[in-house]
């Protein structure tokens, strides 16, 4: 168990290092940051002075280490476009994205898992077929189109919910939350459904496939042969055994939500990191792009670690050291 966790941690560090390197490479090769920072008519000497000040004249690996040190101390540089510190811009935007992703993830899990279990158990039922058809349409609908349609129906035609923005937010320290006001909660509904729908259908289809796989297993047949009730067999035995693969994919998918938030935030003009990222791509604002990358990678690594810990909670084969087992 210990060895496993260490191996996973090393893998996470490897991922983070790779991402940091990509972010660094972005800085190095995409345009000369000096050009962005000095006035048009600056002399070569002025430029070189700034270059030396920023350490840009030092060897490649020294710069990379410096970059890493800056990352670790939360010093992400200045935005090329607006000139304010990236850390400050991101801190303003992050709560919006995280709250949206959180609600969308809850939605995806609480709708996707039960729907998957149901369609797995009642394989040939009419409701299952209907749900599967709907899910296939769900997978085929691009996120932005879902958003547009929801806005068209619920904001424009019915006028029930806002079509853009976060509504009123409350400031809790550095964190601005939309959870505490009615308008903030109302503003969350459409974006989180838009964001979560694709993942919901994916999780549903995955849980269904796993259920079908597990229901064919010998221990399920043996559990029935022991006369256990349907409930015990389906939920106690079958569902629990689908959890390991489902946790894996669900973890990945929730990580995916952070990336997909880019689209949703654009459609709903949601003031989060994704919206920021898209704008920064259009204006080639490298510091923001690379910081965003590093932060998203960090989210992924954290989610993966949580997934690993959940494995231990679910599967005794990992929990107990094999060498202890007697024969």
């Amino acid at each position: 168990m210990f060895a496993y966790i260490i191996r996973r941690a090393l893998q996470s560090i490897l991922v983070m290092a790779a991402v940091a390197f990509v972010a660094f490479a972005l800085f190095q090769y995409m345009g000369d940051p000096i050009n962005q920072m000095v006035a048009q008519d600056a002399t070569l000497e002025q430029r070189n002075a700034l270059r030396a000040l920023l350490g840009l004249d030092r060897p490649f690996y020294v710069q990379f280490l410096l970059f890493l040190k800056n990352l670790l101390t939360g010093n992400f540089g200045f935005s090329f476009r607006v000139g304010t510190p990236v850390a400050q811009i991101i801190a303003e935007r992050m709560p919006a994205t995280l709250e949206l992703v959180f609600v969308a993830a809850l939605f995806a899990l609480f709708v996707g898992v039960p729907a998957g279990v149901y369609t797995g158990l009642h394989r040939h039922g009419a409701i299952s077929r209907f749900m599967l058809t709907v899910s296939l349409i769900g997978v085929s609908l691009p996120t932005f189109l879902i958003g547009i349609l929801l806005i068209l129906i619920f904001a424009v035609m019915l006028g029930w919910l806002p079509s853009f923005g976060r509504g009123q937010t409350v400031q809790l320290g550095f964190w601005s939350t939309g959870f505490l006001t009615t308008s903030g909660l109302k503003a969350l509904i459409l974006p989180s459904i838009t964001l979560g729908l694709f993942q919901t259908t994916l999780i549903m289809r995955l849980v269904r496939a796993e259920m079908l796989e597990v229901l064919r297993a010998d221990y399920i047949k043996f559990a029935r042969a022991r006369g256990l009730t349907n409930r015990a067999v389906n939920f106690g035995h079958a569902l629990k055994n689908t959890l390991v693969p489902v946790i894996t994919i669900a973890g990945l998918q929730i990580g995916g939500l952070i990336a997909f938030a880019i689209i949703t935030e654009t459609v709903f003009q949601w003031p989060g990191m994704g919206f920021l990222f898209i704008t920064s791509i259009q204006f080639v604002d490298v510091p923001i792009m690379s910081t965003y990358l590093v932060l998203v990678a960090l989210c992924f690594v954290i989610i993966n670690l949580i997934v690993d810990l959940l494995y231990f909670a679910v599967d005794p084969r990992l929990r107990i050291d094999r060498s202890v087992s007697a024969h």
Binding site: Q11, M30, S140, L212, G255, I278
Partner: protein, 310 residues
């Protein structure tokens, strides 16, 4: 005529196969297949069959801008699904847009498939160091959603290429970006299957008689792992078309001069709430039908090729 006989045999075997049987039994799949085929033919022949060539700026008439669909009051019959803000026929832009979307879809799937299958075969067959390196790269990439990688590659291209050049190269950049972000799936699947095939007698026999490893991999192992690859490829086509349209919708994809379906929806979205709904809705409907048909085919193919699940 042995070639003819061989062909007839092949057709006969196909008609008797389980795959064809399950195809015949499912009207949904047949419709999906028909629609996919229709889309492909229409996309291939688009420049010659569209009622209005919307790429010809000279032929556009701004007087005809913002016309609603033909059946709505104020619509004209020459513009069946209405016109956009520049007087372009919406139906024609959709057919031409589907051409761009499908082109990007097929090209990026081809790229990802070739790359993934080759790397997967090598990783599985050669093993050792080569295998670990390929799979570690895959692991790191897998911990990132494809859309982010695509955006990143596109962003880099944007930074490196001058603006006008980037607009011209946009389609290729996107093909490259989608291809590079999706090869892992093929590689992982092919590697897993190759590991299984490698130990079967026919491969051992081929080794014993001294066939070259490359020949064994491509002539003998490859045909036996193509089923799942076909399934991933089909589903991948749907995903690629969706990804392209998403990028274009976000404004970092295909430029408006030769719009794809996603670009059309992006343009239409600006007018959606002022009442000109047809400019966004019709391209959207066509996009969904296209992707849904492809997904239905892929789903069915997966079940038909995997008898365990039937």
């Amino acid at each position: 005529m042995p070639v003819w006989h061989h062909l007839r045999d092949l057709v006969r075997r196909f008609l008797a196969s389980d795959v064809f049987y399950s195809f015949k039994r499912s009207p949904t799949v047949m419709i999906a297949f028909g629609l996919t085929l229709l889309f492909m033919v229409a996309a291939a022949l688009a420049p010659w069959i569209v009622p209005h060539n919307t790429y010809e700026v000279a032929s556009l008439n701004l007087m005809d801008a913002f016309l609603p669909p033909a059946w709505v009051q104020g619509g004209k019959f020459t513009y069946l699904l209405g016109t956009d803000d520049q007087g372009r026929d919406v139906f024609s832009t959709i057919v031409l847009g589907a051409r761009v979307s499908l082109l990007v879809g097929f090209a990026s799937v081809f790229l990802a498939l070739t790359m993934g299958v080759a790397l997967g075969l090598v990783a599985g067959y050669v093993g050792g160091m080569t295998d670990s390196i390929i799979m570690r790269v895959a692991d790191v990439k897998l911990s990132f959603p494809a859309i982010l990688i695509v955006l990143l590659i596109d962003g880099v291209a944007r930074g490196l290429l001058p603006r006008d050049l980037h607009d011209k190269a946009a389609v290729y950049v996107i093909i490259l970006a989608i291809g590079l972000s999706t090869w892992i799936q093929y590689a992982r699947t092919v590697r897993g299957l190759t590991l299984v095939e490698k130990n079967k007698e026919y491969v051992q026999a081929a080794r014993v008689i001294g066939l070259h490893p490359v020949l064994i991999m491509f002539r003998h192992v490859l045909p036996n792992v193509m089923g799942p690859v076909l399934v991933i490829g089909t589903l991948g086509l749907g995903i690629a078309v969706l990804t392209e349209s998403t990028l274009s919708f976000l404004g970092v994809g295909v430029p408006p001069t030769e719009p794809s379906l996603g670009t059309l929806i992006r343009i239409g979205n600006n007018f959606l709430f002022s009442g000109e709904w047809w400019m966004a809705i019709f391209p959207g409907v066509f996009l969904v039908i296209l992707v849904l048909s492809v997904n239905l085919l892929g789903d069915w193919l997966r079940d038909a090729l995997n008898p365990k699940l039937r």
